[in-house]
Amino acid sequence: MTLKAKNTFMIVFLAFLLSPFLFLRNSYPFLRFAMFADPIRTQQAEYYNIHINQKTVSSQNAFSVPEDVFQQWAHDYYSKGDSSIFLHKLEALQKYQGQIELLKSK
């Protein structure tokens, strides 16, 4: 590999590395930096609880879905106004029968 090719690779790679910072987005699933960077006013700490037959259950026990993944899904569907679709999908996953409710707390 020539010196010019090596240097070109480095410059292109650096540009690729800086792109998520410049455009405030994930270039690819593996290039996402900075957790919890949002300010308090926009972060809006929120937590979603799942109730089955009016009893609070953990997503891990009820659907075998890790808590952090469940919170992310709930946030995404809830903020798009698609919570009913989310509940419908959860119904297919639940281990025991019952009425599912999604409650948001701040």
Partner: protein, 361 residues
């Protein structure tokens, strides 16, 4: 020549800012506030598919100020490029003057490949879960290149075989064979990881590990130690950008104890609950985080600090696991730090050869 480069950068920045503030911003406001459709909204919806979610969760003013950051950040990057351009000759000598002990590089690679095996094993165990949650699958690049539905178990098996064969090939003595092996391992990592990320939650834990995986094939091909230094620089930039992201988005609020308490509220653990009671700790922890992240690219100017920074970074990741249950003791961020092993054991002062040249400049 140097001045011409600075002037051209400044003019470009001025032109970009003018177009943004007078042409793009009014259309952006119309889209965010009044939901109007225009070329800016089409472009934003393409580039930021999550904009509809943000419009419902973040207030309009905060969203606009976030968009304005494109200009501040471009200015910041242009400033950095100008600094690099201005000091390009001494930096070039510094960058080219690397001579690591091959045994130390071998140890780093051993840790990388050991982690590769561990990750693959972990993923194999998790794959049955993916099929159970297939309803939630939304393919991400590069998975969608291959299929629009969840890849079949056979495809997963083939990808793992490619990765394992790649690992074996990297033990070869031929640089090109080693490089091809590393590319096969990279393919395995990218494919499986992006499949896992296609379930609504992106795991950014592999950011630095993937940087390492992406540059290693070039290092194997060339056997040029400068690429090991380049991986180190890229990893420290990744940390620095994380810190800068926090400052640009939150400003001084990031070290406000209430901000950290909010984070602990979302990631409850017993240690986190204990920390929440003390404002001092809720101030010290985010401040230290910023210090570790922002100081990362500067460690090369004081090589003695490299081991100290690496240890701090490892403790930072372990701390995040203990306090917020994020990552783990075996986090890929920690595994990627293995690439600093050659520098940690390098006695030679890195900047010594260039200091006289900097003075001459």
């Amino acid at each position: 020549m140097k001045n011409r480069f600075v002037i051209i950068s400044f003019l470009l920045f001025l032109l970009g800012s003018t177009i943004y503030f007078f042409e793009v911003l009014p259309l952006l406001k119309a889209f965010i506030i009044n939901d109007e459709c225009n070329w800016v909204s089409t472009f934003i919806q393409y580039l930021y598919p999550k904009i509809e979610t943000y419009k419902n969760t973040i207030d309009a003013q905060a969203l606009i100020s976030r968009a304005n950051q494109l200009i501040y950040r471009s200015g910041f990057i242009l400033f950095g490029v100008n600094i690099i351009y201005y000091y390009r000759y001494p930096l070039k000598i510094y960058f080219n003057n690397v001579n690591f002990n091959p045994k130390h590089i071998e140890i780093s690679y051993f840790i990388y490949s050991l982690y590769f095996l561990y990750t693959c094993f972990d993923w194999v165990l998790e794959i049955p879960n993916l099929f159970r949650l297939a309803e939630f699958y939304t393919p991400l690049c590069p998975t969608f290149i291959f299929e629009n539905s969840l890849p079949s178990p056979y495809l997963f098996a083939v990808v793992f075989l490619i990765g394992t064969a790649g690992l074996v090939l990297t033990r070869s003595n031929q640089p090109k064979t080693k490089s091809i092996g590393a590319i096969m391992m990279l393919f395995n990592l990218l494919f499986i990881h992006s499949t896992f990320c296609s379930f609504g939650k992106i795991d950014h834990g592999y950011a630095t590990y993937f940087i390492l995986a992406m540059i290693l094939p070039v290092y194997f091909w060339t056997n040029d130690h400068r690429f090991i230094r380049f991986i180190q620089i890229a990893i420290t930039l990744c940390y620095a950008m994380s810190g800068l992201e926090k400052i640009t988005l939150s400003g001084i609020d990031f070290i406000n104890p209430d901000h950290f308490k909010n984070i602990l509220f979302m990631h409850p653990t017993s240690i986190g609950n204990w920390i929440k009671q003390y404002d001092v700790l809720c101030f010290i922890i985010p401040t230290t985080t910023l210090l570790i992240q922002l100081s990362a690219p500067f460690i090369f100017f004081k090589p003695k600090l490299i081991p100290l920074w690496v240890i701090s970074a490892i403790l930072f990741h372990w701390g995040a696991y203990l306090i917020m249950n994020i990552g783990g003791f075996h986090s890929p961020w920690v595994a990627a730090l293995a690439i600093f092993i050659p520098s940690c054991f390098q006695k030679k002062k890195l900047l010594a050869p260039i200091l006289p040249l900097v003075k001459k400049e």
